[in-house]
Symmetry: C2
Subunit: 237 residues, 2 copies
DNA sequence: ATTATTAGCTACAGTCGTGTATCTTAAAGT
DNA sequence: ACTTTAAGATACACGACTGTAGCTAATAAT
């Protein structure tokens, strides 16, 4: 399973930024007139309503889920990170997972690949790059925390797929593959569930093994060594 | 990402068994002379030493890690599941992760594929079946809980790879692929890190998406649609 | 039988997080 | 300006878990 050295871990960068954010608590804002969690100057005031409050809560939930040690998401931690009261959270959500699902649904849509006309290899590589960038975003990390946990709550996972992924129309690479198959570049019968999942599967596994972005060379290797052969366009032939 | 309905979740079966195990606490054993956690009759006694105690603790740690909701592993839960005192755990380990790593190292080795002479496709499929079976074992689940968590402890992951995986020599499919390449079935230059990781990556992702064993048909599809094309033996050609 | 070791039990003080209740008052609407 | 709404602050009781300490006696060795 392990190849190469771990260059860093999923959570290190976000953790550093998150610590900074957590540091500005309500009292500090009141005294110094500093900006709130989401960067909107509030003239020393701490109360927010409507979208500003929701944004702060959603951002906090996703960031907390992305970095929580032991994969544990708590109302208390979200509230602290959002610089808001727990009672405010409990007025709307029963538990942190409900909140996180709302947050993830709100943070959609994710940027989708925009395939061109005549660069299958390039478009595939770019779509994998998009996937990597998303996967290392707080939202991507939060999703991973939900999906990958063996003790996961199956209802939460189902809700995640219905509310967050259903709007997406499949994998990042699927959009590209379907486009080029429809334009006659290869036999559409090749687009099986296995083939559609290839790119993302390899990227996901690589990230789990190394804890780091796979890098553009590895993405290109995925395209050349796995995806293209699987659709009958093996560069080595 | 989602394909098909979730047939079950990672943790449901083990949880049912685990609940039963947890149910026989120390007092019950003392009163009824029932077997202890690991099935060894102790004539109504609760104290164990040496291997019997370690086995109980290791089994409990791995099972607990495999099912913990919210991904949280605690000394208290392990102690309860092992029907032993926390002080016993703290005498040897500082924290539950140290204990879990010792447990996983002890539970090795995992059964390895035994490739034959002339059935590449069958041997690949069987190796993926082995991987699935391991992945759904408590040890496999516990490993997943460590590796897949975005907020993971990088030191723990490194220790896991060094102490548990280093002894394994690569992926389940790698053993088979290397064997057949050495016997001239295909060009060994095809055995890149991407290709070696293909089978396990697809299985891992499938399990994450569905929460269930992928099934033999899907394993066969992985071999036919992804692995064989990647090594230049595309059945569709 | 005696001795050494340590498992298991219990207690303690402390932290973290939960879920709820209540109050003040900032923010928004009229 | 006045009214309504609900955000934020605070308190409470409780459970889970932590890490430690001390004691009894079961287990293993001699």
């Amino acid at each position: 399973m392990p190849e190469g050295d771990a260059e860093g871990d999923f959570g290190d960068d976000v953790e550093a930024r998150a610590e900074h954010g957590t540091h500005s608590d309500a009292e500090d804002d009141t005294e110094t007139g500093a900006a709130t969690e989401n960067g909107t100057p509030t003239g020393g005031r701490t109360r927010r309503r409507g979208k500003a409050l929701l944004d702060a809560i959603y951002t906090a939930a996703v960031e907390e889920a992305a970095v929580a040690r032991g994969g544990r998401l708590t109302m208390d931690a979200i509230a602290k990170r959002a610089a808001t009261a727990r009672s405010t959270l409990y007025r709307r959500w029963n538990d942190p997972t409900d909140l996180l699902l709302d947050a993830l649904a709100d943070l959609h849509p994710v940027e989708q690949p925009a395939p061109g006309a005549d660069d299958l290899r390039g478009d595939l590589t770019r779509s994998l790059r998009l996937m990597c960038d998303w996967a290392f975003s707080p939202a991507g990390r939060a999703v991973m925390a939900i999906v990958a946990n063996p003790g996961r709550d199956s209802a939460a996972v189902e809700a995640l797929y219905e509310r967050v992924f259903a709007a997406r129309g499949g994998t990042f690479t699927q959009t590209v593959l379907r486009h080029y198959a429809e334009h006659g570049h290869f036999d559409p019968a090749r687009l099986t569930p296995v083939v559609v999942d290839l790119g993302e599967a390899l990227v996901t596994k690589r990230m789990m093994d190394t804890g780091a972005d796979p890098g553009d060379d590895y993405l290109a290797a995925i395209v050349d060594q796995a995806i293209l052969p699987a659709i009958g366009l093996d560069p080595a032939h």
